[in-house]
Structure formats: C-alpha cells, structure tokens
Amino acid sequence: MSGSLELVCPAGTPATLRAAVQAGADAVYCGFRDETNARNFPGLNFSPREMAEGIRFAHGQGARVLVAINTFARAGDTDPWRRAADTAAECGADAVIAADIAVLDHMACQHPRTRLHLSVQAAAATPEAIGFYAKAFGVRRVVLPRVLSVQEIAALNRAIDVETEAFVFGGLCVMIEGRCSLSSYAAGRSPNLNGVCSPPEMVGYDEDAGGTAARLAGFTIDRYEPGEPVGYPTLCKGRFKAGDKAGYLFEDPVSLNAGSMIVALKAAGVTALKIEGRQRGKGYVTEVVRAFRRAVDAVERGHDPAEIDGMLAALSEGGRQTAGAYRKIWR
C-alpha cells in the first residue's frame, strides 16, 4: 500500500455494506449472523450467501471486506467458528479478524493465504503480545485496544512490524475489550461468550413516579426524568452510586470522535482508521463514512488538524464526544 490511511467501515447488513462502499470506504468489516462475531444482535449480520454477494459487490467497487470472527469458540463445540472461518476464506474475504487462539490457529493452519487481523477483543497492547501473535499465527494487522494514547501507539509501532488499526469514531468501550464479563455477570450473556453486551432481551424500561428506569436483567442502569430522552442501558455507561457520589462512574454517555487525532495517528504510524457501529443504520453509516472519507483525503493532502476536526464536527448527533484514551488525560 502507498502509505495512505485506510478507512475501515462497519456493515451490519448487506444494504449497509453497499452504502459504506458507495460512501467511500476502503474496507468494510462485517460478520456472520451467529455467535461467531461480537455484534450478534437480532436481525443483524450476514448469511454465507449474503457474505459472498457482499464481497463480490465490494471487490467490484475496489473495496475490501474484512470478516470478523471475533468471539471465543465454545468449548466442545468449536465447529461453528471453524466453519465461519472456512466460509469467509471460501467467499474470498480480504482478511479474517479474530481474537480466539482457536480461530487464529485454525486460520493459520487451514487458510494460510488469507490475511489475519488480530481483533480488538484479543486486547494485545504490548510489543511482546503482538509479536507473539505475529510469530505464532502470521497476524498481519492488530486492531488496537481503545486504551492507548497516541504517544503509546507511536512507541508501539516502532517496536512491532505488523500494521495497526485504530478506532476513530463511534461507541466507546471503556473496559479493555475481550476481557469484560460485566454483561454476563448481570444478564448471563457477554461479548466473549455470545457476541453481545447488555443483551436486548434482558432490557426493560419501567415507568414509575420518578420517571423511567432503564434496567438490565433487573439491575437499574440509569434513570430518566419524565420526558427526558432515554438511552440504551449499556452497563458501563450507566449511572451508579459509589462512596458518597452518584453519577457516571465508569464513563459519561459519550461517543468517540478522534477526528482531531487523524493527523497524529498517521504520524504515529497507524495503517488504518476504524469506524465503530455494525449495529447502526445505513443512513448513519453513509453520513459518517462520507465525512471521514473527506477528512482522510484532506489529511493525505496535508490539511491541518483543526480543519479536519471542523469537517467532522457535524457528526455529533447532538451527543457528547471524546477523543478517548488517545489523549492521556482520559484515564
């Protein structure tokens, strides 16, 4: 590759895949409609046939498709994960994104010609860990945990010889991904076990005198005044009490917008920028991808960070945003 930043965009459905490609994505990532991928929501994702069609469509438009098989295979029943990996390779996926050693090992042994990317779910954040995955499985790219600062990413890139991909926009996991069991603790299903966090079937909105309580498996995750916009009760984004304080203990209800950091991320040696949101609609994806396409092209033409930031400012959806861990102060 020429060294220009690659824009990696989410697709939860074939329609969104087409929308993302048409909006200027260099690559689209998506998963099969089962528990082999970490966005296993009802009605979302691809059948094997849809995946094959999606890849054909993307390739026809000069875009790549990265297939996420990034949950952890079930003990005694690892076949669905192996099958998903086989199907992805047969469909002509440009890469498989995996976290589980079982999946990585299977890919390395059975499909050595298909590129392997290490999922953020593997939480590999040090040169030793990344080097290990590169050596053992031939991993070519690592999706960086969303806990590293730009300085740390730069240092990391100097110490490793695989590509790095960094999240720049969308939902923000405040916990180290792939190592969080909060959801299964409360609701019995978790990202690692089932590919879901704060599963919708355990969500309830209960109205009472004080307004609306958003609950997950009976645990109150947040409360809203009558008429106040409600949010989805994602565990780590709720309001709780600790000590003598009550509030957003883990993270404010913000989303990540690292638009202002694109120039710095490029300077830090990052290969690809990733937009989160496989559960989001095609209208949203189109808008975000289009804006980031313009921004990335401007970065490549040498525009300054303030200009880039301005190009992405309209994407706030009225919600609050943060540059996350890329600025060290986040911690």
Binding site: R33, G43, E50, P200, Y205, G227, G281
Partner: protein, 182 residues
C-alpha cells in the same frame, strides 16, 4: 407515553387529506402486500428469525387506528385495531405516522428516533431490534408494500416518497436530509 406535536406529527391539513377509514379493507390489503413481499424477498423475513412470529402493535399517534402485525413471511398477518390497547402483543411501537414511515423507507435512523423519544417502544426489546435491523436492510419502497410493479410502482414511489418528504419537512420544520442534518 405521550408524544407532543414536535418532531413531525401530521399537520392538521394533512390529516384532513386522509379519508376517515373504518379500517375494514385495509387489514386484508396490507396482509396481502406483506405476504406477496415475503414471496418476492424471503431473505428479508429470514433476518427476523424467531421474532417473525412476534405480534407487533404499530400505533400511529396521529391516526385513529393502529395495526397489529405478525411478520411471519408468507403467513404474515396485518389487522387494523382500535386504540384501546386491549390487543395482546409482544411489542408496541408508537409514534407519528410520518416518522414510522420514515423508518420504513430508511431515511430516518430508528436508533436515533427511539432514543429521542419521537417514537416510543415497549415490550420485547430484542424483537424490536430484530425488526429494526430487518427493515434497515430491506430498503423498502412504498411500491414493495403495496405490491405494485413497473410504471405504476415508479409512479407510486415518486409520488408517495416525494409527498412524504415534503410533508415531513413541513411538519418537522427541518431542513432537507441531503444536507446531512436529518
């Protein structure tokens, strides 16, 4: 949950344009449309999985009736019901008709509407999520739902979508979607 007039209820003049339906022919008509859609595009309903047999009560707040929908492929059923709420159902989706139609044709993001309370949703959240994602991928046009084809379909889509978009902007007092600020 009551939704005010902000955010896109039908203006009074537009409400007057709708005939005061008793609802009798509408149920079978929509049932027929949905089943024919299922025959033409089975993949759309597969996406719903187990939630295809769920009962969705779609309640347009600015119409005098509601719909009970079971989106079960070629066995789909749509019934027009009253507003009483006595109907047993798994999910209730309530909102101004233009907003509901906006989700259907994909110009409005269901997540955003849901969380801004223009549309209220109650019942089995996973069934709502499945329906939203299925609709999201369907890229439905009015002609799909009405079972129209050819010139008639193009005519209907242009007329209905164009009209919808115009009325929606009138109602919401919002700029056009094309400038990226829906």
């Amino acid at each position: 949950m009551v939704t005010g007039n902000e955010g896109g209820s039908l203006p009074v003049f537009a409400q007057r344009l709708l005939p005061p339906f008793a609802g009798l022919p509408l149920g079978p008509l929509l049932t027929q449309s949905l089943r024919s859609l299922a025959r033409r595009r089975p993949g759309l309903f597969e996406r719903l999985g187990e939630h295809g047999t769920a009962r969705y009560l779609i309640d347009p707040t600015d119409l005098p009736f509601a719909f009970c929908v079971v989106p079960d492929g070629t066995a789909s059923r749509v019934r027009v019901t009253g507003k009483g709420g006595a109907e047993p159902c798994d999910v209730v989706i309530r909102g101004p008709i233009l907003m509901l139609l906006g989700i259907l044709d994909g110009t409005l993001d269901g997540d955003a509407l849901f969380f801004h309370r223009t549309i209220s949703v109650s019942g089995r959240t996973e069934a709502v999520v499945a329906l939203r994602n299925a609709i999201e991928d369907a890229e439905l046009r009015p002609s799909d739902l009405l079972g129209l084809r050819g010139t008639l379909a193009r005519f209907a889509d242009a007329g209905i979508l164009g009209g919808l978009s115009a009325v929606r902007h009138l109602a919401a007092g919002a700029p056009a979607r094309e400038d990226g600020r829906a």
